[in-house]
């Protein structure tokens, strides 16, 4: 592959908040190379040859899990998928019990998705391997933000002065938090739009703009990033109904018209069509980057794994 392999100052990737601009740019540059590789007929690399990668998912996620699996396999790692869900918790096994068991199998990289904020951090303190946070509660989902940044950069060239509007359930969204950190660092102007029940407290302290109205919030936006609204949060808990939510906060052709002409639409998936986004928009390849985000996901995860494997050499002091 390319001459320059990316590296991170930390052994783990726990959040976008800890990444420096240089690290982010190195990861994005490296991922560009993997985009090209993934589009070629011979997709097999070898930078993870001999390494074991475990996907430990306490929450179901087809998209993220298969993305990491493919990324690991394309780089030559042995990949093991563990779908833990809640069954082991009900058997009385704690997160750390599971982790300790896995640790004994000598994995090199552990990808973890968990419903509780801080779960990846907790594991990173207790395990010998690299830990990648693939989503912890409402905290962070750094590879999602990285893949979003890669997608944006490929279309807009850069981030300086770019207006990114993140719309929907920001309160419960790790994707929003990671994107706020990452895109702000890269120089974008981040704006969040949500009904007040779904806005996190003191969000203005993150140096972002806050709106509760789509028309106002979308004005001048280059990128419109929609968030998934969990079904259990509708029906009167945080918003009165699906149809009311769609009426005021769902992205349709009319509301997209408030944004800058040529604005592009993103969504981390899976989508609730007709709730936060109209199918008409989601399937319009002229404005929707949603499929491309999935493609970039594999490439950015290859770059992340590459960087962590590169770092492992330092921590273990041998030439991998």
């Amino acid at each position: 592959m390319n001459a320059e392999r990316p590296s991170l100052s930390s052994r783990h990737l726990l959040g976008a908040e800890q990444l420096s601009v240089a690290e982010i740019e190195a990861l994005l540059d490296c991922a560009e190379g993997y985009v090209a590789l993934n589009r070629s007929t011979d997709k097999k690399g070898a930078v993870l040859k001999g390494l074991t990668l475990i996907n430990l998912f306490f929450e179901a996620s087809t998209r993220t899990q298969s993305s990491f699996e493919l990324a690991g396999k394309r780089l030559g790692a042995d990949v093991l998928n563990m779908a833990v869900r809640t069954s082991s918790v009900s058997k009385g096994e704690t997160l750390l019990d599971t982790a300790t068991t896995l640790n004994a199998m000598q994995p090199d990289i552990l990808i973890v998705r968990h419903q509780d904020s801080g779960a990846a951090e907790l594991l990173s303190h207790k395990l010998d391997c690299c830990v990648v946070n693939a989503g912890d509660g409402a905290h962070e989902h750094p590879t999602q933000a990285l893949l979003d940044a890669l997608t944006i950069r490929r279309h807009c060239g850069g981030f300086e002065g770019l207006v990114v509007a993140i719309c929907g359930d920001v309160l419960h969204s790790r994707v929003a938090r990671s994107n706020i950190h990452l895109l702000s660092k890269l120089g974008a102007r981040v704006r969040i739009i949500a009904p007040r029940t779904l806005l996190p407290a003191d969000a203005e302290r993150f140096g972002i703009e806050i709106c509760s109205d789509m028309r106002e919030g979308l004005a001048g936006a280059d990128i419109v990033m929609m968030l998934r609204l969990q079904l259990e949060r509708m029906e009167g808990a945080f918003v009165p109904s699906t149809r009311e939510y769609f009426r005021f906060f769902g992205l349709d052709r009319q509301k997209l018209g408030y944004a800058k002409p040529g604005a592009l639409v993103m969504h981390p998936g899976p989508m609730n069509r007709g709730v936060e986004i109209d199918s008409d928009i989601a399937d319009d390849v002229a404005v929707s980057l949603i499929q491309e985000q999935v493609e970039m996901g594999v490439a950015i995860r290859m770059a992340v794994l590459d960087a962590l494997a590169n770092g492992l050499k330092r921590y273990r002091g041998n030439a991998a």
Partner: protein, 432 residues
């Protein structure tokens, strides 16, 4: 019958009167027989002699808010292990919360606690009883019978009674017997599922959070019910400036209201949670720095009457979890004294005034005889070095649980020796 002891070369502190003098103190028959400068270097017949080396001799601490695991969760803490921790922390009386299994809501259970304490504990253990059965907030307990059995105060521990009709009747009934009711202020619905205080920090960590106002709303509600019922009411712990202002206002109106603050709300703020440190997950949660500073101010001004440890031992397996799932609570019996001494070291209060919040103030609230240096008072004493620096190491604690929110913190001040009823129950020179 315990022996006669004479303490010489001591800095005598009586927090009640502000007395702070070099002298000595004579203990006989488990009581303070006499004290003053005349005993500074006394040589008395048939007395154990203890040279205090100029260190402070003060009444033992009275901790108004201690959770143990006995009965029902002895793996977390027994009365014995809690009392060992207390003695090492200079605490000679612990007021235990009724949140056990079963809940202390029956006179026979109060009796059980007293007997277990007499058999196993080296410090005084004062039981409180539940205000409502099973702490369920639905029906009041037998307040009169429980008091006769020895319940010192009535409290639903760390739960807030949501139903104001139930609470109003329980408070009115309690007022009949002139008992002290200790309340917990955290709106149960507003704080449902919350692990931390709402704000920038909680947003950053992505943790479920409740607004600090969830406390003040209940403080204000309960003040109105005290106005209605006339009961003697104590907020077990407050933690926000708004609550402090509400209590100050109620006091200025002459209502029989008092309040406490926990040592960790005086010393720590929410940022100390750092990267999800579950040892700092407490109830109510740690607050903003502005609220923490308000607590210090409230103690210094005397609006906050007492400082408590809120000692709440939790087993390792309930703390070694993601923050949201981890248990609330921290052990505190061995860090209460240095946390209070910090007020003195920071120039907020004199040494006697600082100690007042953990000795004579709780004694007065609870109608106890201790908490002061006076002839005839029980010889519950602590010989303490207010200046000695140390670093908290959770593995060095006497408590059965290790979950101290002060783990790794640098503190100043330690109990050197602790006496209950004239008997030595802790000696650091032997312990270390």
């Amino acid at each position: 019958m315990s022996a006669r002891i004479v303490f010489t070369n001591a800095r005598l502190i009586d927090p009640e009167s502000g007395y702070d003098t070099h002298g000595g103190l004579l203990v006989a028959d488990g009581q303070i027989a006499d004290f003053g400068p005349a005993f500074a270097s006394a040589q008395l017949e048939s007395c154990d002699q203890i040279d205090c080396g100029g260190k402070a001799l003060a009444p033992g601490l009275i901790d108004m808010r201690v959770f143990t695991g006995e009965p029902g969760s002895e793996h977390r803490e027994t009365l014995q292990s809690a009392s060992d921790a207390a003695a090492a922390g200079g605490v000679t009386t612990i007021v235990v919360m009724p949140k056990t299994q079963p809940v202390i809501d029956e006179p026979s259970l109060v009796d059980f606690l007293k007997r277990r304490a007499a058999a196993t504990a080296c410090v005084r253990v004062m039981p409180t009883a539940a205000l409502t059965r099973h702490l369920a907030g639905e029906t009041m307990t037998e307040i009169g019978l429980l008091r006769e059995a020895g319940a010192l105060a009535f409290t639903d521990a760390d739960t807030t009674i949501a139903n104001t009709r139930v609470l109003r009747r329980a408070l009115a009934y309690a007022a009949n017997f002139d008992v002290l009711v200790i309340g917990h202020a955290e709106d149960p619905d507003l704080s449902f599922g919350a692990a931390v205080t709402e704000g920038e920090f909680a947003t950053r960590l992505g943790l479920p959070a409740a607004p600090a106002m969830a406390e003040t709303m209940i403080v204000e509600r309960d003040i109105r019910l005290v106005e209605l019922t006339g009961v003697r009411y104590h907020f077990g712990q407050i933690s926000t400036r708004a609550s402090l202002e509400a209590v100050a206002n109620a006091k200025s109106r002459g209502l029989p209201i008092t309040c406490g603050v926990s040592a960790h709300h005086l010393a720590l703020n929410e940022l100390d949670i750092g990267a999800y440190q579950t040892f700092r997950k407490v109830k109510p949660p740690l607050r903003s720095e502005a609220d923490r500073a308000a607590m210090v101010e409230g103690v210094a001004q005397g609006i906050i009457d007492v400082v408590v440890s809120s000692h709440d031992p939790q087993a390792a397996d309930t703390k070694r979890l993601p923050f949201g799932q981890a248990a609330f609570g921290g052990v505190g019996l061995e860090t209460l004294l240095p946390a209070v001494l910090a007020l003195y070291h920071d120039g907020q209060m004199s040494l006697p005034r600082a100690l007042h919040t953990v000795t004579s103030a709780p004694a007065k609230l609870l109608g106890l005889g201790g908490g002061r240096l006076a002839r005839g008072a029980p010889a519950d004493l602590v010989l303490l070095d207010p200046d000695r620096p140390w670093v908290v190491d959770s593995h060095q604690l006497r408590s059965r649980a290790r979950n101290t929110p002060f783990d790794g913190r640098r503190l100043q001040g330690l109990a050197e020796m602790t006496f209950v009823n004239g008997n030595k129950v802790f000696d650091r020179r032997r312990a270390d």
